[in-house]
């Protein structure tokens, strides 16, 4: 349970931007020897928060990056079990690969168990598809920073919205082509640049092209290359909060990731059950079967265990880094609407529980 914290009001002009200002984590409460004389009902806070979340719902913005044809849209549709992304294979003949990287954000509202999620899938058609792909990550980096800027502008407004619309990218799935050899120069370039501003989760696409042995070797090699190149993918080591986090995340970082996945929106009958899969002449590949591929691991990771953390790291770390840099660079407030002029001292940011 993480309570919203206040940031210390050091004079903003003296703020030295650390590359990654860590959030002030509330220390675990020192256990006071208080024996409660009766039931107070503090624990109901969880239920209250749950009810609130159910009423307000929450935003989740996921970006997919990778060469065309790696199954990005299919995978996102499989993750969220709905048609939230339009497959490029369904493009008609006139729609060509875009000459420059385009950013297409499409929002959907998904509801499950009374909880509403406003899911935005951000597609990046054109990435890595040209003959010359130099700097093709720049439009993507620009987009990510623009969302931080949007949020910042809202935040520094005098009259702010109660709930600032959050378009910031919480998670970026980067699709690695399953060549079986190594990461390509473009993969390294992209991840080097973007891992500094957004949570990157590398994913090995179309993993049904590798045998178990090839998969395991490839994953090892990819992990090594990411390490050698100093690329910190999510969950980043430096943000592990306690030993529990570290143990859990270490296991994910060193063994499971990058997840080798297969996506599908078609169902087949296997052993009396209907499963999502791919039917080949030599067998049916079951997407949610852990013996076949790691889709279920990715799904559980992104949605069932680390969704909230993805948002928090985005808000507390990436966004704060951007904000600190902006405030320092411009020597004051970024220009915004409703400000009475830059003569005003910068408003210390108060916690943003309203964002969720």
């Amino acid at each position: 349970l993480r309570l919203p914290e206040t940031r210390t009001d050091a004079a903003m002009s003296e703020l030295v931007p650390e590359p990654r200002p860590k959030p002030a984590v509330p220390m675990k409460p020192v256990s006071i020897n208080s024996s409660l004389l009766g039931y107070i009902g503090i624990d109901t806070i969880i239920e209250q928060m749950r009810r609130k979340t159910m009423k307000t719902g929450f935003d989740f913005n996921i970006m997919v990056v990778g060469q065309s044809g790696l199954g990005k849209s299919t995978l996102v549709n499989t993750l969220f079990k709905s048609q939230v992304s339009r497959k490029s294979s369904s493009w008609n003949r006139e729609e060509k690969i875009p000459k420059t990287v385009e950013i297409k954000a499409i929002g959907h509202v998904i509801e499950e168990g009374g909880v509403k999620m406003k899911l935005t899938v951000i597609d990046t058609p054109g990435f890595g598809d040209q003959i010359n792909n130099e700097n093709c990550w720049e439009p993507i980096e620009k987009y990510v920073n623009e969302q931080y800027e949007k949020f910042l502008k809202e935040e520094v407004n005098i009259s702010r919205k109660k709930r600032i619309p959050d378009t910031r990218v919480h998670c970026c799935l980067y699709f690695v082509s399953p060549t079986g050899h190594s990461l390509r120069p473009l993969d390294l370039e992209f991840m080097k640049h973007l891992s500094k501003v957004v949570n990157i989760i590398p994913v090995i696409a179309k993993a049904d092209t590798m045998t178990l042995e090839e998969k395991s070797e490839f994953k090892q090699r990819v992990r090594k290359e990411l390490e050698v190149n100093g690329i910190e993918f999510y969950p980043q080591k430096e943000f592990d909060e306690d030993l529990e986090d570290k143990t859990e995340n270490d296991k994910i970082r060193q063994e499971s990731m990058p997840f080798a996945v297969v996506g599908s929106d078609k169902e087949y009958q296997v052993n009396g059950k209907r499963v999502l899969g791919r039917k080949t002449p030599w067998g049916i590949i079951e997407v949610e079967n852990l013996n076949h591929c790691e889709f279920a691991l990715l799904r559980d990771f992104v949605i069932r265990t680390h969704l909230q953390d993805l948002k928090e790291v985005t808000h507390n770390i990436h966004y704060e880094t951007y904000r600190a840099k902006r405030l320092n660079d411009s020597g004051g407030l970024p220009p915004g609407e409703g400000l009475l002029g830059t003569a005003l001292p910068p408003v210390p940011a108060t916690p943003c529980p309203t964002a969720e």
């Binding site: 060469q67 065309s68 690969i97 003959i131 010359n132 370039e189 092209t209 002449p281 030599w282």
Partner: protein, 340 residues
């Protein structure tokens, strides 16, 4: 050059599987399987494989002599690791076009020389171009490459790693690729028409061949157990892909085409079309240069200055190194003798 020999394709019969020579492991497995069988006449065949592995484009040559039933084949496989892997792949096919041109040039020189008895034919007879199965058709770099090479070499496009596609996807991809080849005006190798006097079996096979292009292939150097038999394949948790099973991929069609039925035609087209184009272009350039220089010369073409190819340069460098090392050693010995 054309002997008019027609190699009738036999219906697939199980043959003795020879052990794979381990020195080819790590290499594109496709040519390994292709050259296990050979043909009834000894001659040279040079196969070029355009694939993507490393970061800079290299040209690697592997030559092997194969003999089967008294027939000798000198097979040269030219690999092009690094093709298409960089961030900026502009003109990444240049080392390849250069290589092809160099072989033509060498042949041209040999042909125009005095001793023409033992000309070695290093010209590239066939280029297997591997299209990624992960795309939705041809990528810009595929189109760029093929357009740069289609007038110089027989291009046989293949869909690589076809075991990651289900049958409907393969069908769609093949259609898309065929459409795009048409659209972009790419001249891939065309299977010649059957002679009308061929038997129906052969004609049927020929039809099937043409309809299956581009071939969707899978390669494997490992032998797995499937249905009680040992076959070359890939073992997945959900099943076994058999390379030589026509229901699984087009490997057998490719092998038949490349070796059993069209090897000779590939060579013919290389000699009669691509090489002749090169030669005519070359001569034209030389004669136009001559007229530009306004010199009146005899029609004997003056050959362009020999440019040492990469291999020769490497050799020269190696020899220089050797010489240097020997000189160093000699110096040391001299010194030692003086010290004593």
């Amino acid at each position: 050059m054309s002997t008019g020999l027609r190699y009738k394709s036999k219906l697939a019969t199980p043959e003795d599987k020879q052990d794979i020579d381990k020195q080819y492991v790590g290499f594109a497995t496709l040519p390994n399987q292709v050259h296990r069988k050979s043909v009834k006449k000894g001659f040279d065949f040079t196969l070029m494989v355009a694939e993507r592995i490393n970061q800079t484009v290299e040209i690697l040559k592997h030559t092997v002599d194969i003999e089967e039933k008294g027939v000798k084949l000198k097979l040269t496989i030219v690999d092009t690791p690094g093709f298409g892997d960089a961030v900026n792949n502009s003109e990444c096919w240049k080392p390849i076009t250069d290589y092809v041109d160099q072989q033509f040039e060498q042949y041209f020189r040999d042909e125009s020389g005095l001793n023409r008895k033992n000309i070695q034919d290093n010209r590239v007879h066939c280029c297997l171009y591997f299209i990624s199965p992960f795309g939705h058709g041809l990528r810009p770099v595929d189109v760029g490459f093929m357009k740069a090479l289609h007038e110089k070499v027989n291009i046989v496009p293949l869909i690589a790693k076809a075991d990651c596609l289900v049958p409907s996807e393969i069908r769609k991809l093949k259609e898309r690729i065929r459409e795009e080849i048409d659209k972009f005006g790419i001249h891939v190798y065309q299977f010649p028409e059957c002679d009308s006097d061929e038997d129906e079996d052969f004609k049927q096979q020929d039809r099937e061949l043409k309809e299956s292009a581009p071939f969707a292939v899978i390669g494997s150097n490992t032998v797995v157990e499937a249905k009680g038999q040992r076959v070359r394949g890939r073992l997945y948790p959900w099943g076994i892909v058999e390379v030589e099973n026509q229901a699984h991929c087009d490997f057998v069609k490719l092998r038949n085409m490349l070796i059993r039925t069209h090897m000779h035609d590939l060579k013919d087209v290389t000699c009669d079309v691509h090489y002749e184009n090169y030669r005519a272009h070359c001569i034209q350039q030389m004669t136009s240069k001559l007229t530009q220089d306004s010199r009146m010369e005899s029609p004997i073409p003056i050959l362009p200055l020999p440019t040492p190819d990469v291999e020769t340069e490497k050799l020269i460098r190696m020899k220089d190194e050797e010489l240097r090392r020997m000189q160093e050693m000699l110096q040391k010995m001299k010194q030692q003798m003086q010290d004593q």
